[in-house]
Symmetry: D2
Subunit: 282 residues, 4 copies
């Protein structure tokens, strides 16, 4: 239970707003507790206080409902948690007064289908990651889109990321940034053995299938927004497609996607000018 949450709850309750918390330690907040599964039905707005990881968690709660998300970070701007704690209360009042921008983000549905017909299913706001967890071995896997064979890959695994996830793990693995309004998904191989095995951006309307090949003793873990969904083995297969519903994000009215990128990636005018100075001769 963090200081910002306490201040936030008090501020909202003072306005007569019903505050529900998913956290069990609700005493300090003088707020109503509901289990995770009931939050989306009961709330008009979900406020996540923390980092981008907290936003991913909140997205799982909100998925499938129309309840929008608002992210408040704790000290440092996130890609998703874009309200600074210092501005939190005035920004929130502005939003409650109807001044905000709203956007929706693509989510992915991952289905891990086992040999015996068992299906493990989960939604991702960022990414579905297939990754080997065995020292000194590569994993070999095949990718298909809408049934059409793409490639057989060797390496540490594969990231299937939404535009939202393109600035998370996928970026560390050499993937491009994808503007969130684009209905696209990117397949980013992780440390691929073949140097020409490069990221591919495809329409989100296509279904991606991933299967392991050849080695009966290998397996790869499937993680959805950082949470394990299960293991891909030689006899199972993983299907990834756009989820039926999208998630809604609420931003303060001055929100700009590229402004967040500039801040997070050290981009922009000032940065450039200093660098120009480094290389200029007198």
């Amino acid at each position: 239970m963090s200081e910002p949450m306490i201040a936030l709850a008090a501020h909202l309750k003072a306005q007569g707003i019903d505050v529900i918390v998913s956290d069990e330690v609700t005493l300090k907040l003088n707020a109503r507790h509901l289990p995770d599964a009931e939050i989306a039905n009961a709330a008009d707005l979900i406020i996540a206080v923390g980092g981008d990881g907290t936003m991913l968690h909140a997205a799982r709660l909100a998925a499938g409902s129309d309840v929008p998300l608002l992210g408040i970070n704790r000290g440092r701007l996130g890609f998703l948690a874009d309200v600074m704690p210092a501005d939190m209360l005035p920004k929130l009042d502005q939003i409650l007064a109807g001044e905000f921008s709203r956007e929706t983000r693509l989510m992915l549905k991952a289905r891990l289908i086992e040999n015996d017909g068992n299906i493990h299913e989960a939604l991702a706001l960022n990414d579905v990651v297939i990754q080997r967890w065995e020292t000194g071995r590569m994993v070999d896997f095949e990718t298909r889109v809408d049934g059409c064979y793409i490639n057989t890959h060797s390496g540490d695994g594969l990231i299937v990321a939404t535009p939202t996830g393109s600035t998370a793990y996928a970026l560390s693995c050499g993937g491009p940034i994808i503007e969130p309004r684009l209905d696209a998904v990117v397949l980013v191989p992780i440390c691929p053995h073949t140097l020409s095995d490069r990221p591919i951006v495809i329409p989100s309307s296509q279904e991606i299938e991933v299967r392991l090949v050849d080695r009966a003793d290998l397996q790869a873990e499937v993680a959805v927004d950082g949470h394990s969904l299960g293991w891909l083995t030689e006899t199972s297969r993983l299907l990834i497609s756009a989820a039926d519903t999208r998630i809604s994000l609420i931003h303060p009215p001055e929100y700009e996607y590229y402004g967040i990128l500039r801040s997070k990636l050290h981009w922009g005018r000032n940065n450039r000018m200093r660098q120009a100075m480094d290389l200029d001769e007198d």
Copy 2:
């Protein structure tokens, strides 16, 4: 005038098809010559014989018309010229008999607007490239989409590529592969000074603006599919948007986009199996 062109012209004329050539040396082909600008109006199908560069040239001829393009390569498969010369005649007959797949590809319109109002305009099937041509200097430029500031870049320049162009120069500069059905454009910085200045994929419906900044003595050349459009200076600006029309490509019926990628990028099953062998212990 190449051997394949002679064989092709003869084969078509034998079927009573009117053969028009853009090349001036038409005697050998016993074919009609028309200047480049009239080809699209007069033809039902444009066949380009050569490499991908020839296809780019043919795309400029066909742009704005509905006349589709067919590409025959000379010895090695291209990303665009995907009929092998050995198969040329039977494939062509198949296509003339109506058995083919047809797809359209996004083209870009580049407009270089000078201070005095002069506008230089051209269409690109692959890419619009802004590049410094001066030893030992970086170029500094700003990018905007639909009027919204993205970033100020320092480096050798910028590639704005279509999905078709994503496997050309943009790939050498670290850009992703983009599936041609996606209505997207990728901005790929060329050798950027800032390591976090990464490729960005955006919807093709957005207008991109590029301007130089700060240094009155620098300029950058703007090239459209490899042909110079003019120079970007401190007082001019470059606008890039989706062209009003798309280009149509004709392929043999068994054409597969990913099959071309696998062939050109040394991907696929066999490649993987050999590599697996390299690292396996006995």
Copy 3:
């Protein structure tokens, strides 16, 4: 027991050469068996038949002795196993007759020092890899050389590779190729969170230290040439330095390091010419 090994053993025995095998199934070979630990003392030459993985295994047997290694691959050229099976017998006779080139390769010594003073130690011909094995979490670690702090990294881990290992896993993670005669080691971060966290090449005379930071619950596995050495935790530390001895490799006289690179990485003249054709216009 593979066909090449049987042919090889027979060929050597026919010349009166004492053949020792590390493999336990020695009957077919009519050869002497010795346990791994005794091979280096008893042999004048160790022949590894397999892929590069087999060569890494043989290097562990030979390490610390002067016994050189010869690598015979099984069907496809390796970076280390550079004699093709088809040429095996004549090449071997040439080598036995004294016609060969001999080179030595740097090996690394990894020491994992636990809180209680326990030390796990091993030699690497390719690399020492520190890698997180936990879904959805990054590992944070600090690097030092000769006691001097380099950086604090976040990501999937770190590869410390010899020149020999620079063309193995390190290459997949964005590391450079290092010519084997250079007494250097490269530190390659694996999928680093910070895009400016780039490979660093340092003299092999320096001692590298790696420690985890901050999160008591995280650990990272340390693997030496693909074999687990143990776990790096918040209270242990990993020291990596040049091993006291180098390994000797025997090659056929016509061996060329860059020839192997060209073959393995699809480099060279022919490749270029085909590509030039792709882009040329007529």
Copy 4:
């Protein structure tokens, strides 16, 4: 003539030190002017005030002499100009009192040998860059070390960088960072057509040769530390080897190479901790 230079000259003259300037506007400084070519013979220490570009210029003046270089930047830390203007005077006094660290840096000698025997020669502290300057064309060139063929490359060109230059243009093109004490040179292809055409680090004792291939109409400019040396054509060749002498750099006693890297590349502890916060859940 900048403010720091005026302050610096006054400070030194007040101590009775003979101040020589290469700049022609010497009146304000009340200092002696000498042409560039005579500076190294007359001075005991060369102080460069500006950015890294100014340091490269000073290195050309000092090359071949034993006169060491000290770099004072103008507002932002450089890789080479590592004294901040605010600290300039006390640091300089410390250095004049004998408290400093001195290191030497490898320089390269580039020789462009034309068909008619003409030789253009220059020394590089950072890099020798071979680069095409023609819209829409790749340049094809072959590399050799000590007469041994490495590869035939297609792309925008090649950077041959010293360890000092490894953090300049080479870093933007995907090259590794090389610790300055390593006697090594890195060959970094610029936007290579072949994705497996990767940076190679070799001992600086080897002579590198670069030649164009195949296309009579293409040429590439050769630039040494950003200054044009001439044009590489089909009939000329470029030889690059370690220069006979190294350059000496003077640093304040607390200088640390990795400290400079951390500052310039946004590395280090604080950076990591903020990022960890971004991804942590509560």
